[in-house]
């Protein structure tokens, strides 16, 4: 001791190292214990730069300035809807669904939601129709239900829900990554609405304690940061998807094959299709009307087109599906629009359900009319 001041000895490297490691372990454990589930809600979108026109999704981030991630909070916080208080003069329409709604190979303004929004539809009671895209490129009705439930936070006046038979088989409801890695949300939804899906389905990924540490969450945390950074590029360029000049067009010639998942012709077993999820969706929407749309698909005239409509569907299965949809909608009092064949073959792009802007335009007229009808019914 000298003049009351402590004389500092040389700092021990080993002590510093041990302290550092201990602190790191402690912070990791605290992070896992605290479980900051809502971290994704912290977003620079709609604050530092504009929100996205559609939910984040992309496999080549450096080119599309977009990426696929599993944090639903972060995904929705990046959408422009999240930053928009609903004006009294707005009739808010939210479109949910698969990649055909999200708009694979389409610019945001070319999608169904984009074209409907640009149409400037004026609803009754002096309200302006504004349409938002909450589609997401995986095909599963349960995924749609998850998104519909979240969409309700944004006070929609109408939900448009395009769907196709591929989204119905029960065994694929929980298998898409966005569902299986949001197991807690999925289970809560199954239990809340008493769905017949298995809450212990192995597809639902159980996150253990160690996955909750910073080390365990490193990928998700990195995705969160990348989503914010790519937001800068999205805002600067308006690009959120790669638009290749060339792509493989949808298949029109087929093998003589009539298979559809595990279903056996000639009868489509309705008990293995997730019609209950549609009914649940209507329930989740509460008093908000839902417009259910059987989305357009490519009707092939190529080889073996007498057996199959397209890559996805044999004729026997799809015809019965349409019949069932009509029956369910009649029984359930759904507002249902069957647009399965309104788009000509040449207006499909790289899949039997992905359309060109012109193809989307065919839907716009029909769906737009229904939106206006619903808007005028509402008070």
């Amino acid at each position: 001791m000298d003049n009351g001041k402590q004389v500092q000895g040389p700092v021990s490297f080993v002590r510093v190292l041990l302290k550092g490691l201990l602190l790191f372990a402690l912070v990791n454990l605290l992070f896992a214990w605290w479980d900051p589930g809502g971290l994704g809600k912290l977003s620079a979108y709609n604050i530092l730069f504009r929100g996205r026109e559609r939910l984040p999704f992309g496999e080549s981030p450096s080119q599309s300035y977009n990426l696929s991630l599993l944090d639903l909070d972060a995904m929705f916080a990046s959408h422009k809807l999240d930053g928009l208080p609903k004006p009294a003069t707005e009739y808010r329409v939210i479109v949910i669904g698969d990649s055909s709604v999200w708009g694979t190979l389409l610019r945001p303004e070319e999608t169904l939601a984009g074209q409907l929004d640009a149409a400037g539809l004026a609803a009754c009671h002096g309200r302006q129709v504004r349409v938002y895209n909450l589609g997401y490129p995986t095909i599963s009705l349960f995924k749609d239900l998850m998104f519909l439930e979240r969409a309700m936070d944004y006070e929609p006046d109408l939900i448009v829900w395009p769907m196709t038979l591929e989204a119905f088989p029960l065994d694929k409801q929980l298998t898409s990554p966005i569902v299986s890695y949001n197991a807690e949300t999925a289970r809560a939804l199954i239990e809340k609405y008493g769905l017949s899906l298995d809450v212990h389905d192995p597809a639902l990924v159980e996150a253990g304690f160690w996955q909750g540490t910073i080390i365990g969450q490193r990928r998700n945390l990195a995705d969160l940061i990348r989503l914010q950074l790519y937001g800068v590029m999205w805002a600067a360029t308006g690009i959120d998807q790669v638009y290749p000049s060339d792509y493989t067009p949808a298949q029109v010639d087929f093998d003589p094959d009539e298979s559809f998942h595990d279903f056996e012709p000639p009868v489509l077993d309705g008990s293995q299709l997730a019609f209950e999820i549609i009914a649940t969706g209507l329930q989740a929407a509460g008093g908000t009307p839902v417009l259910i749309v059987n989305e357009p698909m490519l009707v092939s005239t190529g080889q073996n087109s007498d057996l199959r409509y397209n890559f996805y569907y044999p004729r026997w299965a799809y015809d019965q599906y349409r019949q069932m949809m009509a029956e369910h909608s009649a029984q359930g009092g759904w507002t249902y629009l069957d647009l399965w064949d309104i788009v000509p073959n040449n207006e499909f792009t790289n899949s039997a359900i992905h359309m060109t802007p012109v193809g989307e335009g065919y839907m716009v007229g029909q769906v737009g009319t229904n939106i206006l009808e619903k808007a005028c019914e509402a008070r």
């Binding site: 040389p10 700092v11 021990s12 490297f13 080993v14 510093v16 190292l17 981030p61 450096s62 080119q63 940061i225 990348r226 950074l229 790519y230 800068v232 590029m233 805002a235 600067a236 360029t237 690009i239």
Partner: protein, 471 residues
């Protein structure tokens, strides 16, 4: 260097530092450096080239010792352990062609052992010939290095070299490109060798052993991105007995952690939004273009200075205190100070071996001072630009900085007295420094437009967009 490379080399350096306490650590350092030359070399499309180029680096380094050592020091007596280590490691690496290793020490499958043996014997014979080398060989060696440099840095010449090499290996010549001859670390290796050649020519080069010389040239932490050390300083550290203290380890650890954070967190994140050839054409608004340019400016700084921190940190673990390369360059109040603090070892190198000799030469011819400054600044900066690649954009970048340095020199000459008279209070000095730093940063940032983009027309469009005049 990737993160695994850094961790492995860091661990290896720590091991050497701890195990060779007060003993000779030359050979372990040389061995790691030799392995690093092969491990860091990326895979190349030309068959076997990703083995031959690292081998050429070693041969070049070893032969350069014969060329630069004074005739009395060139004897192979006492150098056999180094020769054995060099040849032994190369032979072992070549023999991995026949062994299934769970990890790869070379980028691709090594060539046949007999080919490697012939190459080693050839290199040995050259060494014997060079041990009696006349003085003029120094000049020839310098020219050879510059010619290789020119070929590697000129896209058309590099593609031509790729085409020739493809012909030798009977691969499609149509697919030849500049990437075919991506010779990792050659730039920095050449800088170090040229430094020794020039210092030998001026009689200032210290006597060093073959092992010390080769270790200096290919020292693993600074192989790929510098800093460019000086031989006399490096060997001084190398010859000091090493006894790592807690303080040394902490200093090294701090530099490593800071470097890794700068490079892999800050720079790599900024890279996602930094100006590049693709997004340059996608952004139409001035505001966003500035954001991208700022991101690039900071990305290049954090990337490069992060690597330097890592190199210095690893160097400290083996008792080598590599020189600093960056000293807060973006906070400097003028362009001259910026260049005294940005990639310092490169600018010092150019100052020592290009700028000063030319200045002396022009002064001796009684050329007026402003003209000397103009010529030397422009020539030096253009040469630094061309070192990055022989393209118009690097020429423009060099010209931009050369003109900037000249204008700053003349301006400060004119305003020095006035500025001193005005900045009599602390507040005024701060105003002068901050405004100078902001102006300098933006001048440098605008220069990055040429550096980051491939062609003058793309750069010009970006500059127009930045000032609201884009289409």
């Amino acid at each position: 260097m990737t993160l695994p490379h850094i961790l492995i080399f860091g661990a290896a350096a720590l091991l050497v530092g701890l195990l060779t306490r007060n003993r000779n650590r030359l050979y372990p350092m040389l061995a790691i450096s030799i392995l690093a030359v092969y491990t860091l070399q990326p895979a190349l499309p030309v068959r076997g080239l990703d083995f031959w180029l690292p081998t050429a680096t070693l041969v070049l380094a070893a032969l350069s010792w014969f060329v630069t050592a004074s005739p009395t020091e060139r004897s192979l007596r006492g150098q056999w352990p180094t020769v054995g280590l060099l040849a032994g490691i190369v032979a072992i690496l070549a023999s991995t062609r026949y062994i299934d290793l769970p990890f790869l020490l070379t980028a691709g499958r090594p060539p046949q052992v007999q080919q490697v043996a012939v190459a080693l014997v050839g290199a040995g014979l050259l060494g014997i010939i060079f041990s009696r080398a006349p003085k003029w060989l120094l000049g020839v060696w310098l020219v050879l290095l510059l010619v290789i440099f020119l070929v590697l840095k000129t896209p058309a010449l590099a593609a031509m070299a790729g085409s020739i090499l493809r012909g030798w290996t009977q691969q499609s010549r149509e697919l030849a490109s500049a990437v075919d001859v991506r010779w990792l670390g050659f730039s920095y290796v050449a800088f170090r060798i040229i430094h020794t050649i020039r210092d030998r020519q001026s009689g200032r080069l210290p006597a060093v052993s073959l092992g010390e010389y080769v270790t200096y040239v290919i020292f693993f932490p600074s192989l790929t991105a510098g800093p460019i050390d000086r031989l006399e300083r490096f060997t001084q550290d190398l010859r000091k007995p090493l006894s790592l203290t807690s303080g040394d380890l902490l200093r090294a650890g701090e530099r490593l952690v800071v470097g890794l954070f700068k490079k892999f967190i800050v720079a790599d994140s900024l890279a996602l939004i930094a100006l590049n050839a693709t997004n340059a054409g996608q952004v139409q608004s001035a505001g966003w273009m500035w954001v991208l340019l700022y991101a690039y400016s900071f990305q290049i700084f954090f990337d490069f200075s992060g690597y330097t921190d890592v190199a210095i940190g690893i160097g400290l673990l083996v008792g080598i205190k590599l020189p600093e390369n960056f000293n807060a360059p973006y906070r400097k109040p003028n362009l001259t100070q910026f260049w005294n603090n940005w990639h310092m070892t490169l600018t010092q190198w150019f100052r020592a071996y290009f700028f000063n000799p030319i200045t002396r030469s022009l002064r001796s011819k009684k050329v007026p001072i402003p003209i000397i400054i103009f010529v030397t600044q422009i020539a030096t900066m253009m040469l630094i630009g061309l070192w990055h690649g022989v393209t118009w954009n690097f020429v423009l970048w060099g010209l931009w900085h050369g003109l900037g340095l000249f204008i700053h020199n003349r301006w400060s000459e004119w305003t020095r007295a006035r500025a001193a008279a005005w900045a009599i209070t602390k507040a005024r000095q701060v105003i002068l420094n901050v405004s100078g730093a902001l102006l300098t940063f933006h001048f440098v940032a605008l220069g990055w437009v040429f550096f980051a983009l491939p062609t003058p027309d793309v750069s010009w469009k970006v500059l127009l967009t930045l000032f609201g005049a884009g289409s």
